[in-house]
């Protein structure tokens, strides 16, 4: 069933993705990620010595600062900081550098829908740029359930506001491995089917949610390929002196 979207995309089509790394010179790692008109800048400083007061000193700690484009910092920003912190903590290998703090700063440059997923993707690329050891990458996508019709991916802000419900989903990236098929699966499902983070807004039925998960997994494979090409391409032609 064809759904008319304002910008002419099909249901499963993502907006044009663009990502560049190492754009800030003082930061240890930085990345800019844009999906269509939504653009987010992420910077990583770390690891720095010492952890904050209530954090476990036997592990590395991640601190997230979210700066909105305009306005003061409120509950929305605090919630995004917490979600981002817990997502990044689950992908980084925290035992490598204990008793250190890595700061991730997110600056929203433009918000045109799917802001949190773009920020998670940007933060992940910035962590790669900084060389923080990670288990796997986090690939994030926004799926929405319209009032009538099938699930659509990667909405613009206008589409997001008119939806019945939407879900931000984060999956691990897809694995290309030399090991035989099936040796990396858990409970019979491949690792990339696991959900790292899920945040939903609005009312949807349970079946709609599982459908969103399916569409999200399919899209995360495409995103993983984009990330892989981008990382390989930039690492072969970057010529850092020393």
């Amino acid at each position: 069933m064809e759904v008319d979207r304002e910008d002419g995309r099909s249901q499963n089509q993502l907006r044009p993705l663009a990502c560049s790394r190492n754009i800030l010179h003082r930061a240890h790692g930085s990345a800019s990620w844009s999906q269509g008109d939504t653009k987010v800048l992420a910077a990583v400083y770390g690891p720095k010595a010492g952890t904050k007061k209530n954090e476990n000193p036997e592990k590395a700690c991640i601190e997230v600062i979210w700066k909105p484009k305009t306005g003061q910092i409120g509950k929305l920003e605090k919630e995004y900081e917490m979600i981002l912190k817990r997502t990044l903590q689950s992908i980084c290998i925290l035992t490598v550098n204990p008793n250190t703090t890595t700061s991730v700063i997110i600056q929203v440059v433009n918000d045109d829908g799917a802001l949190l997923p773009s920020a998670i993707n940007a933060a992940c690329m910035a962590l790669v740029d900084a060389g923080i050891p990670m288990r796997h990458l986090a690939v994030s996508i926004c799926c929405c359930v319209p009032r009538s019709g099938l699930v659509i991916l990667d909405p613009t802000k206008l589409e997001e506001q008119n939806m019945k419900a939407f879900a931000y989903l984060v999956f691990p990236n897809s694995v290309h491995s030399v090991l035989p098929e099936g040796s990396l699966s858990v409970q019979g499902e491949p690792i990339e089917n696991g959900v790292i983070t899920s945040v939903t807004h609005g009312v949807m039925s349970v079946d709609d949610y599982f459908f969103c998960l399916e569409r999200g997994r399919a899209a995360s494979t495409k995103l993983s390929d984009f990330l892989r090409r981008n990382l390989q391409h930039q690492s072969t032609d970057s010529s850092k002196a020393g």
Binding site: M82, R86, Q89, V170, I191, G194, V203
Partner: protein, 300 residues
């Protein structure tokens, strides 16, 4: 007194309380192997839940909800205000969640808890998107006056599953809410009517009425650890096994929220389905508890 253990590690020489503090994860895993938790609950069972309505006498609606030791006090105060221009016949609800230092040793006056603004925002989103309260019911005079409901939830004891207890307290407070009687005075302003005897002013609404609740949201937080799913964690369990999934369902089994903020354990489809099934059971339990509390109040 040591734990019975054949493998000869420290557990046989150390007291139970010390082992619990020194090796918390191993302490819990020993219990999980027997499909039980340290407080003798089976893995899928939530703690004892109680609701007391009318806890705050001066508020228009209030409730005290306890899930195990986690205690939440919710109170609603109504105020008349001018509705916004875009929605002239709708009232407004402002939801705030506070974690005062009484609730937990990690909260100090100068250092607000990290969890407080996050739970406040989640509560706000859930209650407003659930359609439990129809904002048009809160309207008095279209375009001129409408009710503003200030819902404040105070955490008195933070022992895990804060969002569940807060949502339950909020829902119970709304079910106890009575909209006061008001009338229009000579200046065209709405004032509270003191007694029924004043006959020169026509009351805008005849009697104290209860709000009609649409489908009520209920939630359950589960912790994922390896292959285990633990329902309704205590604060100790939450701090050791950090991956939590909160599912909010309403009484017609629609999914209002599936919140999993990161965490080392990945949630596969089977785990998500199990969490949703546990939440469905919990919704039935909570509906019963809420109905008993409401009918208990009405008898008085």
């Amino acid at each position: 007194m040591g734990l019975p253990n054949a493998s000869g590690d420290l557990s046989t020489e150390v007291e139970v309380d010390a082992f619990r503090r020194l090796f918390p994860l191993r302490f819990f895993e020993k219990h999980l192997l027997e499909s039980i938790r340290p407080d003798a609950r089976p893995l899928g069972r939530a703690r004892d839940t109680t609701i007391a309505l009318g806890a705050v006498a001066s508020a228009n609606g209030s409730a005290l909800a306890k899930i195990g030791s986690t205690t939440m006090l919710a109170a609603i105060k109504m105020e008349v205000m001018a509705p916004s221009i875009e929605t002239p016949d709708e009232g407004c609800i402002a939801i705030d969640f506070h974690m005062p230092p009484i609730c937990s040793p990690i909260v100090r006056p100068g250092r607000p808890a990290e969890a407080a603004p996050v739970v406040a925002k989640q509560l706000s989103d859930t209650i407003l998107s659930s359609g439990m309260i129809n904002l048009k019911e809160l309207s008095l005079v279209s375009g001129k006056a409408a009710w503003m409901a200030y819902l404040d939830i105070y955490c008195l004891d933070a022992d895990g599953a804060l969002f569940d207890a807060a949502l339950l307290a909020a829902v119970a407070a709304f079910s106890h809410l009575e909209i006061p009687v008001v009338s229009l005075n000579d200046d065209g302003k709405i004032v509270l009517s003191e007694e029924q005897g004043l006959s020169d002013r026509e009351p805008v609404n005849k009697e104290k009425r209860k709000v009609n609740l649409g489908s009520i949201p209920f939630s359950l937080t589960c912790i994922l650890h390896k292959n285990y799913i633990l329902a309704d964690p205590t604060a100790e369990e939450e701090s050791i096994m950090e991956t939590s999934v909160t599912v909010v369902l309403d009484s017609s089994s629609q999914l209002l929220s599936l919140y999993k903020p990161g965490g080392a354990v990945l949630a596969y489809t089977s785990a998500i389905q199990d969490c949703i099934a546990l939440t469905r059971q919990r919704v039935k339990e909570l509906q019963k508890i809420l109905e008993e509390a409401i009918s208990g109040m009405e008898v008085d």
